[in-house]
Amino acid sequence: MNKILEVKNLTVMFGETYVVDNVSFDLEPGKVLALVGESGSGKTMTALAMLDLLPRSADHKKGEIWFNEQNIFDLDPECMRKIRGNKIAMMFQEPFTALNPVMRVGKQITEAIDAHQRRSHDEKEGRLNELMERVKLPRAIAMSYPHELSGGMRQRIMLAMALSCSPDILILDEPTTALDVSIQKHVLDLIKQIQETEQFAMLFITHDFSVVNMIADDVCVMKEGFVVEKGPKDEVLKTPKVQYTKHLISCIPRLGDKRGRLPG
């Protein structure tokens, strides 16, 4: 098993409070790991640590994050800047706030390329065309401002930005939570399809096990900063070992489900 990224005993504290507590997992190239838990379970903080983007109030961090034989916590800011967005990219939850409202979306995508690579104008235009095609948006959309686009379209733009430098690892933080169920399906199918062709490693953060089932190979369940269960998706979904995992799976209403009440 070759690992592209290894998180070892990661601990993050805000003052005396543990938000991530001794978390370890690996990412493999071409595989999707889902990080599942409720809000406040430490999922997002784990992801931010991987980009060395923890807020300043996180005053203690321990553990190691190994990427390309380097510990991310040992790198100086300049080296980290070269990895962030370039080798390890992240797509954020809120497509409404994560885009610059006064810049055309195409420009926002090429800006991401400019930050890491020296490319001529034509090369960038070519790359932009490629990316728009990959996220299945008409090229003309690149000339729009964010407010002119729907939530699903904005999320595709975010995806194009994250993919712009062909990262080795893509982190997605609840990318479809703010979308309608039907739009969510389109966006998830698209993400899955791109991931399968480009074979990057993916860390997918969500609170919804029905989404996990659609996209993940492996699952890591977090609660209050701890990893309570991890394993291959089918194993965790079909035979969850921990009560908390069972609860997260069973609290989703199903079609044709005869339960008058949901657990919770």
Binding site: E38, S39, G40, S150, G151, A178, D180, V181, S182, I183, Q184, K185, H186, L188, H207, D208, F209, S210, V211, N213, M214, L237, H247, L248, I249, C251, I252, P253, R254, L255, G256, D257, R259, G260, R261, L262, P263, G264
Partner: protein, 242 residues
């Protein structure tokens, strides 16, 4: 009970001074349904289909262009986003009590009403009455919004995507709570959602809405076991399997 008969609501977007007026948007275009007292009607559709316009028409925030809306009893509404629907500068006691204050009730009546409603939504009133919205989680805030909507003792409650911004585990708690409250207070619900699973769990009858019209009205069982309309089938197919 609620009765909508061929209700229409068009919006006319205004353009700049030099451009001609655009086409009107047919937000609700001839919608009819009835909800018997004490039952839940689930209204499902994607964003932009006109669901929220119907919510606003039922509670009277908007007037229909044509058609008829009959509601027996008071109506109230719970909005989607518990982060923006609560005034951040008011305490929970003031937020929940405001509808009573506006209708001219006395201080001690307001206090008693607030306490009762907070206990209905399973919040400890002594602990939260003097706190502010930011001190609560998303699920707790939605409970506060529900308490506010119930404080004037409505007969009809319109719930506009009340759980779509919540985690699945928190969502389950709110859905159970809404069922309990309905039974206790004999309320009629119009439950608006984009999630067919949630609609099916909550409703006695369901309507699938697309571009301002109801494409299918049926029992939840019929909707998922033998959908008649192509659009309903499409929505069913997009549900993640578990």
């Amino acid at each position: 009970m609620i009765e909508l008969k061929n209700v229409k609501k068009y919006f006319h977007p205004r353009r700049g001074i030099f451009s001609s007026d655009g086409d009107s948007v047919k937000a609700v275009d001839g919608v009819s349904f009835t909800v018997p007292r004490g039952k839940t009607f689930g209204l499902v559709g994607e964003s932009g289909c006109g669901k929220s316009t119907i919510a606003k028409l039922i509670v009277g925030i908007l007037e229909p262009d044509s058609g008829e809306i009959k509601c027996q009893g008071n109506t109230d509404i719970v909005f989607q986003d518990p982060f923006s629907s609560l005034n951040p500068r008011m305490t929970i006691g003031d937020i929940v009590g405001e509808p009573l204050f506006i209708s001219g009730q006395k201080r001690n009546e307001i206090k008693a009403g607030v306490k009762r409603m907070l206990s209905v939504v399973k919040l400890r009133s002594a602990e939260c009455i003097d706190k502010y919205p930011h001190q609560f989680s998303g699920g707790e805030r939605q409970r506060i919004a529900i308490a506010r909507s119930l404080v004037r003792k409505p007969h009809i409650l319109v719930l506009d995507e009340p759980v779509s911004s919540l985690d699945v585990s928190i969502q389950a708690g709110i859905l159970n709570l809404l069922k309990d409250i309905q039974e206790e207070m004999y309320l009629t619900y119009v439950f608006i959602t984009h999630d067919l699973r949630v609609a099916e769990f909550m409703s006695d009858a369901m309507g699938v809405m697309k571009e301002g019209t109801l494409v299918e009205v049926a029992s939840p069982r019929e909707i998922y076991s033998s959908p008649k309309d192509g659009y309903t089938r499409q929505l069913l197919d997009s549900i993640p399997k578990l």
